[in-house]
Amino acid sequence: MTGLCGLMAEDIKTAQELAQHQKSISISEFFEKNRHLLGYDNKIKVLLIIVKEAVDNALDATEEARILPEVYVKVEELDKEKYKIIVKDNGPGITKAQIPKVFGSLLYGSKFHKLRQNRGQQGIGVSGAVLYSQLTTGEPTEVVSSTGDGKLHRYKLKIDVKKNEAIIIEEDTIPNEGKWKGVQITFVCEGIYREHKQSVLEYLKQTAIANPYAHIIFDSPTGRAEFQRGVEKLPPEPTEIQPHLYGVEIGMFSRMLHDSKARSISTFMQTEFSRVGKQTADEICKKAGVDPVTHPKRVTDEEVVKLVKTIKETKLMRPPTDCLSPLGEDFILNGLKKELAPEYMAAVTRPPSVYRGWPFQVEVGLAYGGSITEPRIMRLANRVPLLYQAGDCAITKSIMGIDWKRYGIDADKLPTGPVAIFVHIFSVWVPFTSESKEAVASYPVIIKELKLAIQEAARKMQLYLNKKFRSVEAAKKKEMFRNYSDELAQSLAALTGKKKADIYKILMELAEEMYISGDLGGEEGEPVIDKSTDKKPKAKKKPVGEGGAEGEEMEEESEGSEE
């Protein structure tokens, strides 16, 4: 289950380093004291985080194994503020030996320098959820898995926080009767279940839109929600790439040096990073005043600082961008259609771009009307819905930076009309504003790409809306003329003694011609035709003083309007 191990180097650094700095305290104390950093700070949010950790892992695991995901989620209320959470997938499963490692130790699998676009995780991963459960309820977490070898491995485990390893409470292996393969995790933890904008339900709904190839069933305390599969194929697999020098930071650089098998600093840069040739590597070393043949392990801290500084000033090749896997316009449209049943949809996938050495890409889906009655913004990073910190997010800022009214959508900075905006940014390294990974950082190039994608989709939608409103207007006009013609025919019939139906028919026939010629005027005012020019000498027609006796209160109209 490589997805579980897909910890981002940066996360590990932070959490690990933070933990190391506080060696006097145990990792559980660290966890307790730093819950807020990892998102476990709010009883409502906690249920979402745990489901999210498990479901993201399930989707990563199934996709990597090229299996169409079947995900079952259950949230059951056991007691006041005490819940049982079950997440089950149909992925490749985890071997018996791996289970205690993956679930029983925090920060497992930290040596990881290869990068690829995957879901990554919140905070410290699924073992954080195990620890949170045991801290709040004292209950172990149950993991059941089968890799399809006919056996079912079942563990009940906790985490020994001093040793950072699993305490196995129960363990057994039984024959697997069915053909099921995958992982099922059961947590018992504290929390509060709600169904608002930042809920498990909303997260699963957005996940269903962004992953239309997944079939998701959710049994919640209020009933079952089922998200059907919309497409029967997986998106292309993203490929791994090495990090790019532009994206490197001092801490990461020195750790990579330490772990490297390269014999010199120059070959280190050539082999561990994306698109660095000998010439470039040597040039960087020379400019930084570091001997290119220095063994990586002997590079001093000062030299690391100089090297990283020099890298930023050196012109480098852009990283490859073919490592990214977009959902694609068809998948986005499929997801929007099946979950939102809109009247109109448009999707745009931008070509890849690069920020700080990391390739990234943006895609946008817009859905209008139909079952959508109010604005809805869906922010996603690497196919994972972001539900918190909307205000800090580059996606929200980009949406606010667009003049929606121009595209036919009512707005007060953010749209207020019936439109759903689906924005997906994906990268081997999505920059977030904070550890809890809930808002995309606002790099200018990212904002630019986001806006271009949204605008392009909005333009498509605008064409539709213009046409729609034009025909609505035209229908309204016809209706108006029909009604007025009926009234007029009535009056003319009474005045002339002719048949109303005949007069109405004549008027409607003329109406058809008028619609076709489009000659229906439009200005509210009435044109004034001055036929008098040659009849009366102008000199005789002196206006009666400017504004004359027509002043507002000096009208004669009051006559009779009382009574």
């Binding site: 003319l492 005027g521 035709i529 005789k540 027609k541 004669e556």
Partner: protein, 366 residues
Amino acid sequence: MPERETDKRIIKKLETEAEEIINMAKSKKNPKVSIPLRGLSNVYFDKKDKIIKLGDKQQTRTFFNIGQAKKFMQTFLVANACKEIIETGKTTSIRDLYYMTKHTIGETEENTFDEQSESDPIIEDIEVSFDALREELHLFASSKGAIVGDITIVDSGDDIDCRKQGSGGHAIPSICEADVIQFKECEAKYVLFIEKDAVWRRFNEDKFWKKHKCIIIHGQGVPPRGVRRLLRRMTDELKLPLYVLVDADPWGLYIYSVIKQGSINLAYESVRMAVPSARFIGLSAMDWEKYKLPKEVIIRLNEEDKRRIKEILKYPWFQKPEWQKELHYMVEKNVKLELEALSRKHISFITDTYLPERIEKKQWLE
């Protein structure tokens, strides 16, 4: 009976207009009616006749036009209602007509009219474009104004002795055409129009009309059509001079203007209603000094007054030096006066002294 003739003529006219519209539609022309434009841009002061007249500017109202369709429909709705009223031989108020023609359109929530202020201008449109007077359409507005004096009139067949009308006087009907009102014994030597009914009551209570052999009329502010038509007929048919007594302020001068030259809105009626020979008998702003009134009775001009006076100064009929002097005095001394100010001298100063003296000494403006 001329009334019958008129009715026939109007009905014929309305029917012909409706036929025209159907014919236009038949020949695939956008149905239209031409309506003389009422408003400042289409009135002029006829120096010879000394009245405000309607110009020849027309507005064309077409049916298949988003902005005009409703008004077009309303025009014939009202035209037909008028025809129905004429055929019953009754007369009705313009408010009645509003209710008669107000209904929802088809299946919609929309009304043919939302306010009487929408249907009133349509009536005027019909008056001017079909060349039918309001009376001829059997419509009347509310009655305003009263008459007492040394005259007997016939109102709808009843003899009204205007010498015996108590304190309130005889209410002047909205329609004062010859078929409604006829004049009988008249001893009066002139007609006095008074702006305010309260002042008119002073004149009536003091039996001013008896003493000075005249007719006194008020119009409760700006006189309605009926009052104006009556004033005009009295000057025409009884050959009586008309004096106008109003406050010394821009509003008073406006009322005088309307009586004398006609109004912009009803410019098409000036020929029948204006009294170009009307004389302005008071109040003059200069009366404050002339009659040594205390300072407290003066009212200062507000911004609106000043603006109005500036406009009035340009009116063609206020160009005589005496008028210019009067107006400039008002501005320079910052003075306006109400008729009641004269009561500071004593309660009947206006009837005992002021007015007889003004008329005797011919202290009027024209």
